[in-house]
Amino acid sequence: MKQSYGTLGVKLAVLAIWAALLFGPFLFQDVRSIQVAARICIFIVLVASYDLLIGYTGIVSFAHTMFFGFGAYGAAILLKQMGPGWTPVLLGAGAGAALSLVIAAGIGLLSLRVKAIFFAMITLAAASVALVLASQLSHLTGGEDGITYRAPDLFKPATKLLTDGDGKVLKLWGVSLNGKVAAYYFVFLSCAALFWLMLRLVGSPLGTVLKAIRENEARAEAIGYRVVAYRTFVFCISAVIASLAGTVYAVWLKYTGPETALSFDIMIDILLMVVIGGMGTMFGPVIGAVLLVLAQYYLRDLMGAASEAVSAIPLLPELLNPDRWLFWLGILFILLVYFFPKGIAGTAMLKGSRT
């Protein structure tokens, strides 16, 4: 199949993003940039797993942060109780994924038979219950304050990965190879592996069936594919991947609380990323996550400056306040859904396809 130059461009852009992330610690050497890069890695996986749902089967779930939170809290609680080490991380990942699987299967079998809209409402309700539970069961989850804990010893800043002749940390291109770099590459490699897994899944015969369901549900059913079973399966897969991403995030951040792992704001971020990037391709989420995380970190500075500049006009400074950045993204979101429902990647991939 000959690819359009738009598709080629998108693929090149995605490749460039992954390459930049691969050399992240060497390209951007300050602390904040590394935070941004790690966050981008994790959100690429999280948003791509959401895209598996919304883009490939056309079901809208609001419970995605709930699964993300299960993974994060699983690792966090065990790291807190058992002390730093790899066993609690693996156990936490397993427990979070198992819980996600069970709950996703339950919700899916109960409510995927009914209308898409019911499903959206039910997942929203389930997610809100999870959020409330996390802040109520404070002896386990630390309540509103969350949990701080230590990551495995390998990721301590004092750890020396490679030493030179004098026993000091070896420097590569001016970057000392300490535990911080190891932590980043842990995040990067797990996320890359999960993303690759999803790419394979979408390219497999299963992915073709999912696309068929999205395009014409009744027809897929008539050909003999059990739509409910496929949808439930995808819902479970995407829940497990979200949960694993949560575990990685918990290990990286060394803190887990309702704000970072469960809040509805993250769900809104995911929605914005998937719609801005483009639904229904695995490349859209990469672009969306990069743009939005960058906006989160750097747009606020810009808005702060703009707010200062218009301080004489009423209401406008309030709307330009850095905390109100979601206001503008919300408007952008609505406009995108109207005019470019395929998002950046989808629209770009159509370019040059009509020959």
Partner: protein
Amino acid sequence: MNATLERFGGVNLLPLAVAAVAFVLIGAPSSWVTLTVAGLAMGMMVFLMASGLSLVFGLMDVLNFGHSAFVSLGAFIAASVLAALGGWLGSPSVLMNVAALAAALGAAMLFGLLAGLFFEKVIIKPVYADHLRQILITMGALIVVEEAILAIWGGTPITVPRPAFLEGAWIIGDVSIEIYRAFAFALGLIVFGGLYWVLNRTRLGLLIRAGVENREMVEALGFRIDRLFVGVFMLGSALAALGGAMWAGYQTLITPALGAEMMIVVFIVVIIGGLGSIEGTLLGALMVGLVANYVGFLAPKLSLASNMILMMIILMWRPSGLRPAVK
């Protein structure tokens, strides 16, 4: 057995059954009465918020995730009006009190009407019959409205003054009934009565019910369902704003998160009641109100999940809700 139950009202008896079970479990009649009144009042306020959502969905197959934006707008506008008319509220004359309350509720409803018109024309009209984009767009609109509320009213909680004549409680024996709760219940009942009358006794209501049942047929007969829909949407938004205003007075301390909190409850009510019928919505709202209050008293740990559990149970029993109008 089943037939007898049906004759006496079938699922409509459910709130009574819940109340009876709770009476046995609670034991003390005075606390039971207080809880029941609180539950009924909460149910009626939630009914105000949810009725519009249910009708809009039934009529046009449009689900508005931004519905709770009207609830919070109503609450904040009513709070602002009440705060501005503080002098009237404090005065001993009941007339002034009522005037201030009417002004606040009226302002909230008027704003709900206008916001509903804007919402329908600008946000929802372009995406009829496309559920995925509807959910996304109304969600986006909800974000924008919430951020706008944060920009205008700020993030700190606002106290809502209550009119003097609604303060306090009636005390009958050892039972105390808060006057505001009784007022909320009465107002909800009046609105339900009005809606019921319009839907079942007027030509307009006949068209709405026919539209819910089979839109294409009504359109084929030459009626403009889309215009009717704008009206229903505006009315639904106004009722949501009214519900929000009443809720603000009930809570007396409101934050911009109010809309998001109520949205979950409203959705649960609509799912329990069945989409498209106001009787179902009323039933669902009363159930949610009663169960929330009883469980809050009997097992406070469970109270936050009680609505969710209630919804699960009812959905397993009746997958399309208690009294759905649309199949």
